[in-house]
């Protein structure tokens, strides 16, 4: 199953480390992919957005320029109309002026100027100031008037009428008309355009949220600006000089680190320049709501990436993890494991590895079984060899004794000896069982002691002492007989007096102890050391050594045979065995 763990212990560090690496790589790869997509998206769309902004900006600038140009053409035609009215019917002029100013709210006032530029009273509702000369005003450009026949002023406060200080843009038109005497008169017509109306017309043109349009004269003086009041009062600044003298056109530029699209259009009638500016928005410039949504979307992408990373790393490392678990099991010498190759589908390399490992495990398991079987065979053969070693030697001596008894007409002795010999062989040869009870082993030992006692003509006495619990324990066969044989040959045989052999079976803690004690002549330290480790001189030691080896082979190094001996006092041989009950043996 999917586990949200990256380290569980030294044993599985490699696998978990791999999962971590795979998850990390997948996560980084997905984040990198998202980042690259966003980057590509940004560069591609930023440029598209910029071009779009520029197009829009040019369109807005051009539309406004056209609109203003058309507007002044219209105002010029108003002046021309007034001129025509003066030419045809000077009496109708006042009506024409009244009619026009009332019809058009954008026209603040219309005045007729004499040849010196002084307004001629026409509209009695307006109190014309005396001593005003239009041609002498700062805002009236006489050069334009002579060159083009008209002049359109910068915004200014009109001071023609008492108590009125309106901001206007003035058109002064050079007029010619024929008076009632047929004399051609020269003068002017003044049309004042309400600056608020002009302002409203310009304010409608807005290229974008942050964009704006402003108009300057050919020298960079502001005609219209959305923040005109602030500019006039020095509360704001606009770099109008930047476009002075530049040809009409559009493009991109930077100001205060911000990139903007601009377009410049010159109005033919006035020479004014309409400058349209729009700051470029970054693709990633969002308002608060969009930022909020974007964070949520990125969080979802991150969470999905993490989930994909974990799932993919799980599938990639699962097989390796399983394989490692299997390898861990073999540490406990357990090679009898069958791997289910269906569990190793992804990736293919791990499947092949698992297949090879499974094959190897099979091979190892077979080899181990083979070795075990061979060891068992070896032990059996050793046992048989031992038995074979004991039997002929002993049989010869015993039969010799029986012959001797028979010759001396000791029938009872022959009977006892023959019966004991029969018991001895029955226990050692006829049974196939490796383990026998302590009772049987003692019986075997007793048969041997009876035979030897007869053979050695009562040179020793013997006794068997068994603790009640020890009788039911199981032991491997023929343990006591070699020890008794050793006690007789090395302890009793050389004694002048009658010897004594005691055989004991007792339980000490978790161990079963079998002891053979004699009061014979004892052994030197050297003889003691040699008895278990090296080949004894007279060959009888082979049996003792065999007993020790068999016990250790079967039960381990902590079990075996120990000798304690004192010269002229006697020897005790002790076999230490595990307690095995009959059920366990089965």
């Amino acid at each position: 199953m999917l586990k949200f763990k990256w380290a569980r212990g030294s044993a599985s560090k490699t696998v978990l480390g791999l999962r971590f690496i795979v998850s990390g790589v997948v996560l980084c790869a997905s984040l990198f992919a998202v980042f690259m997509i966003m980057l590509a998206f940004k560069s591609r769309f930023t440029e598209a957005l910029a071009q779009n902004t520029l197009r829009n900006n040019v369109q807005v600038g051009t539309q406004l320029a056209t609109g203003i140009e058309d507007y002044f053409v219209e105002i010029l035609s108003v002046a021309e109309t007034m001129n025509a009215v003066m030419d045809e019917s000077p009496q109708g002029l006042m009506q024409a002026i009244l009619f026009t100013t009332r019809l058009r709210s954008d026209i603040e006032a219309i005045a007729v100027l004499d040849r010196f530029g002084v307004p001629v009273p026409a509209d009695p509702s307006l109190a014309l100031k005396p001593d005003v000369n239009i041609f002498q005003q700062d805002w009236c450009n006489l050069n334009n008037l002579h060159q083009y026949g008209y002049d359109i002023s910068m915004p200014h406060v009109q001071n023609l009428f008492r108590g009125q200080y309106e901001w206007v843009v003035s058109l002064v038109y050079l007029s010619r008309w024929t008076d009632e005497n047929g004399v051609v008169q020269v003068g002017g017509i003044l049309v004042d355009i309400n600056f608020d109306a002009f302002n409203d017309m310009c304010a409608k043109a807005a290229p974008g949220d942050e964009g704006f349009v402003y108009i300057t004269d050919r020298y960079g003086n502001i005609v219209y600006h959305p923040s005109q009041h602030l500019l006039y009062l020095g509360l704001k600044a606009e770099n109008t000089a930047y476009y002075v003298g530049t040809p009409d056109g559009s493009g991109f530029s930077y100001q205060d680190g911000k990139r903007f699209a601009y377009s410049v259009n010159t109005l033919p009638l006035t020479g004014w320049r309409v400058v349209s500016i729009d700051y470029l928005k970054s693709v990633f410039t969002f308002d608060t709501n969009m930022q909020h949504d974007l964070i949520a979307i990125i969080s979802v992408i991150l969470l999905l990436s993490l989930a994909i990373a974990m799932i993919s790393s799980y599938y990639i490392t699962r097989s390796i993890h399983r394989l490692t678990s299997t390898v861990q099991e073999t540490k406990n010498q357990n090679f009898d494991i069958h791997m289910d190759l269906n569990q190793y589908r992804i990736p293919n390399e791990i499947r092949e590895l698992a297949r090879s490992f499974d094959h190897m495990l099979g091979r190892i398991h077979g080899l181990v079984a083979e070795i075990k079987s061979e060891q068992q065979l070896l032990r059996k053969s050793e046992l048989k060899a031992l038995q074979a070693q004991i039997n002929p030697h002993f049989l010869y001596n015993t039969l010799d004794s029986i012959v001797w008894l028979a010759e001396s007409q000791d029938h009872k002795g022959v009977t006892v000896m023959t019966t004991s010999l029969a018991d001895l062989f029955r226990l050692s040869i006829s049974s196939d069982q490796e383990f026998i009870s302590v009772a049987d082993e003692l019986k075997h030992a007793q048969s041997y002691l009876i035979i030897q006692k007869i053979r050695y003509q009562d040179k020793f006495d013997y006794e068997l002492i068994v603790e009640p619990g020890a009788m039911e324990c199981m032991v491997t066969r023929i343990l006591l007989q070699p020890l008794i044989e050793n006690a007789i040959y090395h302890g009793i045989q050389r004694m002048v007096d009658k010897g004594n052999i005691t055989v004991r079976a007792r339980i000490l803690g978790k161990h079963l102890l079998l002891e053979v004690e004699d009061n014979g002549c004892g052994m030197s330290g050297e003889a003691l050391r040699g008895i278990l480790s090296s080949i004894p001189k007279n060959g009888s030691g082979i049996g003792v050594q065999n007993v020790h080896q068999r016990i250790q082979l079967l039960f381990g190094k902590e079990y075996g045979l120990e000798y304690q001996s004192e010269l002229e006092a006697g020897t005790t041989a002790t076999i230490k065995l595990p307690i095995i009950h009959q059920e366990k043996n089965r």
């Binding site: 949200f4 406060v157 200080y165 600056f195 006039y232």
Partner: protein
């Protein structure tokens, strides 16, 4: 596995909670503009400037006209309105004594305060936006000396300005005239609320040698103009500010010259300073606004008419 499912469930819930929780909008800064109720033209200019600044910087502007005396309930209401976070206060004109504790509280609570036109008699951190009165009086004084040819008697009339502003203007004018000419200020009508027309007439009768009247505000100039019209005396009238009425007087030659300030600029900078302060930016403690002296000849000059006849 359980831990993983738990982790992803919690993460999904958190994202869902975040996604459906409305985005926290940035609070719109609010500015309260406190103005007096007199001098309509002057307050209107300040209000227009304040509105322009609020629009420019995206702030909410609330305007309160404060009368000369306030009931205690009104003070409590104003106090509750003003002492809130994310907002500042612009006080225009002379100090309203009843507002003193509120403004002191506001300054102590680090609420940005800007004073327009007159300084507050309070210690503390606030920004002041005003005409440089010394400079304005020196410029007007120079014009007076030129017109009077360096000698004569002058009286000063006022209608609704008082306090530190009145004292400053009087002091700087007297200082300039005394140091640079023989023009002497014979009387200063400090008492507020007396009809300037009658006041001027009384002064002219009292001082037959007076050839110069200086009106410290629009209404006193109008009253003085009315008083001298039809008199067969050569009297020069000087003033402060320029309403369309005063502009007409300039054109008619009744008003010789006037010092034009820009209430629009004051209102604008007052709100701007408060907003900059709210934004944590440094604000100049004192900002001087432009002043020009206009007369009949230069009032329509392109540079001057921007200040004399502001856009509506």
């Amino acid at each position: 596995m359980k831990k993983t499912i738990l982790f992803f469930s919690i993460a999904t819930l958190l994202i869902a909670w975040y996604a459906f929780w409305p985005a926290k909008e940035q609070p719109v800064p609010a500015v309260y503009l406190l103005t007096g109720s007199g001098q309509a033209e002057y307050w209107a200019g300040i209000k227009k400037g304040a509105v322009a600044a609020a629009n420019e910087y995206g702030a909410a502007l609330q305007m309160l006209e404060i009368g000369s005396s306030l009931a205690s309930t009104e003070i409590t209401e104003i106090s509750e309105l003003l002492l809130r976070p994310h907002q500042g206060v612009v006080v225009a004109g002379a100090l309203f004594e009843s507002l003193e504790p509120i403004l002191r509280d506001a300054i102590e609570k680090d609420i940005p305060v800007a004073a327009v036109d007159s300084a507050l008699p309070l210690d503390g951190d606030y920004s002041l936006i005003c005409t440089n009165n010394r400079q304005a009086c020196q410029m007007l004084g120079r014009t007076i000396v030129q017109a009077l040819d360096g000698q004569g008697q002058a009286v000063v009339v006022t209608w609704d300005i008082g306090g530190s502003l009145l004292e400053e203007r009087v002091r700087y004018l007297k200082e300039y005239l005394e140091q640079n000419s023989d023009v002497s200020v014979v009387e200063i009508a400090r008492e507020k609320g007396i009809d300037p027309h009658q006041q001027t007439k009384a002064l002219l009768e009292k001082y037959p040698e007076v050839s110069c009247i200086i009106g410290l505000d629009g209404k006193s100039v109008a009253g003085a103009a009315q008083a001298i019209t039809g008199l067969h005396r050569d009297i020069f009238l000087f003033g402060f500010d320029c309403s369309p009425e005063q502009a007409q007087m300039l054109e008619d030659g009744i008003l010789t010259a006037t010092a034009v300030q820009s209430p629009f600029v004051m209102g604008y900078l007052g709100v701007k300073n408060v907003l900059l302060d709210l934004d944590g930016q440094d604000v100049n403690p004192v900002t001087n606004t432009p002043v020009i002296i206009v007369n009949k000849d230069n009032m329509f000059a392109l540079a001057n008419q921007k200040l004399v006849f502001p856009f509506e």
